[in-house]
């Protein structure tokens, strides 16, 4: 298919269609409204169905039903809307349902604002809802990557029978870039037929019951053990990251994800001209986090800098990645303000000059 110039939201919607998703249930919230807007006209063209639900709570439970019937299904929202979906996402994880959830993050907490943010890192990677469960979290830095990762998300969700979340700051929803979809795209996983799906019992197989209620504690314990095995597999097999710059001997290694990593890359290129060598590790999966990659690159760099549109939620994972406790420098903008390349350049120069204060932690 020829390249098109697409807004992130349009590309995410089209990616879902290309991945065979014919069902979308959602509720409007800025800055991701163009995803449902696009799919509301696009899905009928492929025989699909778009429903604007009465709330986010209803949306996620519609996903539960559709996924339980073996259909590929997606919803999208922005930060406060994802919070409302939390309970339903836990139910989907508990019932082993493949659903794709897109979070175009806006600034919080509370109603916050409508401008870009990355402040839902903890929510996505560590505390999405109650119970022992995980979701795969994919974080694109471009519109093309958003389109690719949304398609991958459907394969990963089906393969693991688990919710997969795609997170981008508001820019990923709103900015416009060339995007290409590949007609011969193959699933990234071998996907068996969904014999577990509840599609009507004709006495030809065991009854397919979609449920997250286990009253017998021994049974529920075993269920949790089985889920944990699945999450261990994801940690082993699904870590994704990219590295940039002076990986062998950097003055500073930056850890950043999403569009912030692109800001940092602009800074890295400018710093190179000043003779300052900076490397970067960009997590593409926020969970599972690329601990080993960060550890390796950090071991060859004098200093570590984390850059985020949050107050330092990813610092915890960077600390866990390091061999030994080391000082971490941090730069952020909050509330919908954005990091500029110049700010990153100034921060790196301050680190080099010894005038940057490290993050203090116990």
């Amino acid at each position: 298919m020829a390249k098109k110039l697409m807004k992130g939201a349009e590309a995410i919607g089209e990616a879902a269609v290309q991945a065979g998703c014919h069902l979308f249930f959602g509720y409007p919230i800025t800055p991701q409204n163009e995803i449902p807007e696009y799919l509301s006209s696009r899905l009928p063209q492929v025989g699909g169905t778009f429903v604007q639900a009465e709330s986010e709570v209803a949306s996620i439970n519609m996903l539960y039903g559709a996924a339980g019937a073996g259909e590929r299904v997606m919803t999208s929202s922005s930060s406060p809307g994802i919070s409302l979906m939390a309970e339903g996402i836990s139910y989907c994880a508990g019932a082993k349902l493949p659903v794709v959830i897109v979070n175009i993050m806006r600034a919080g907490p509370g109603l916050g604002g409508i401008l870009p943010s990355q402040a839902d890192y903890f929510q996505a990677t560590k505390g999405l809802a109650h119970g022992d469960f995980r979701v795969l979290v994919l974080a694109p830095w471009s519109i093309q990557e958003a389109a690719d990762l949304v398609q991958d998300a459907f394969d990963l969700a089906d393969y693991y029978r688990n919710p997969v979340m795609v997170v981008g700051d508001g820019l990923i929803g709103q900015m416009m870039e060339p995007v290409e979809f590949y007609e011969d795209r193959q699933p990234i996983k071998e996907l068996p037929p969904k014999t577990w799906a509840s599609t009507g019992w004709k006495r030809d197989r065991p009854k397919a019951i979609i449920n997250s209620l286990f009253l017998d504690p021994a049974e529920l314990e075993q269920h949790n053990i089985d889920l944990k095995k699945k999450y261990d597999l994801m940690e082993r097999d699904e870590v994704r990251f990219a590295t940039y710059g002076a990986l062998d001997s950097a003055d500073v290694v930056i850890v950043a994800y999403g569009t912030v990593a692109r800001v940092c890359l602009s800074a890295i290129e400018a710093l190179e001209n000043d003779g300052i060598k900076v490397a970067m590790v960009r997590p593409i999966t926020l969970w599972p986090f690329p601990y080993e990659a960060v550890r390796e690159v950090a071991s060859k760099a004098k200093d570590i800098l984390v850059v985020e549109l949050s107050t330092g939620q990813m610092i915890e994972d960077v600390r866990l990645a390091l061999h030994r406790p080391r000082p971490i420098h941090f730069h952020c903008r909050l509330g919908g303000m954005l990091v500029s390349p110049e700010e990153v350049i100034d921060k790196v120069k301050a680190i080099k000059a010894g005038t940057s204060e490290e993050v203090h932690y116990a």
Partner: protein, 237 residues
């Protein structure tokens, strides 16, 4: 282009109206004109003309847009000064209207004060966008905008590009499709908007005048650090 007292830019979502409006306002200001730019975008929440208010202020362009914290709101706010400037135009005025029929509806609410002379209503076309892949799509878009905006479109602007992947072929093919659309609608293509870096490679081959653009609307990672020395940057916030 922008020769009449009032230029109204309409078109489909993401066709480049804001970029053309900002460039037009800055060009006119540089020529010593008194310029007013009205941001009537009620469709997109980011990358609106009002985000460039520092650049516009420095150039002496008057910006009509929501103020205070409403600058950032995703609400359909039409400030009353819009009606004032349409009733009593001063110098040159550009209206940057939101995308698609949805955005053009705002114009429909202003028809009682829209002048009947000295006005140019231009549809911006980018054939790289999924909503207008061909001339049939563009013709339908023009009809939809005319219906909800309750105005007659007077011309087309060809703005087919692919951001950093733009080639001369993409620009020329877009201009050809714009001329074809114009022929179907009996409308002139008043200009083809071309990024300054591409101007030399297509200028002679264009079927219409060129309107040379500087890229103003861009995400933070595309902002060259050294640009800060020459003035405030276009940012989201």
């Amino acid at each position: 282009m922008f020769s009449r007292p009032l230029t109204v830019l309409v078109g489909h979502f993401g066709s480049g109206k804001t970029e053309i409006a900002l460039n037009g306002a800055l060009d006119l200001a540089a020529d010593g004109e008194a310029v007013t730019l009205a941001d009537l975008d009620v469709v997109k929440p980011y990358f609106r003309s009002r985000s460039a208010r520092h650049i516009l202020a420095e150039a002496g362009v008057r910006l009509i847009a929501p103020e205070g914290e409403n600058v950032y709101a995703d609400l359909p706010i039409i400030v009353p000064q819009v009606r004032d400037i349409l009733r009593q135009p001063q110098g040159k005025t550009i209206l940057d209207v939101g995308g698609d029929g949805t955005g053009a509806r705002v114009l429909g609410s202003l028809t009682d004060v829209l002048p009947t002379t000295g006005i140019e209503i231009l549809v911006v076309l980018n054939f790289s966008r999924p909503s207008t892949p061909d001339t049939a799509g563009a013709v339908a878009m023009v009809h939809e905008i005319e219906a909800v905006a309750r105005v007659r479109v007077t011309g087309l602007i060809s703005n087919t590009h692919m951001m950093d992947d733009t080639t001369p072929e993409i620009i020329l093919e877009g201009a050809r499709l714009a001329v074809e659309t114009g022929a179907a609608l009996d409308l002139p293509v008043v200009a083809a908007a071309i990024h300054e870096d591409m101007a030399a490679s297509v200028n002679g081959d264009l079927p219409c005048p060129a309107f040379i653009l500087k890229r103003i609307v861009k995400p933070p990672f595309e902002v060259q650090p050294q640009r800060k020395t020459v003035g405030p940057l276009f940012v989201l916030n």
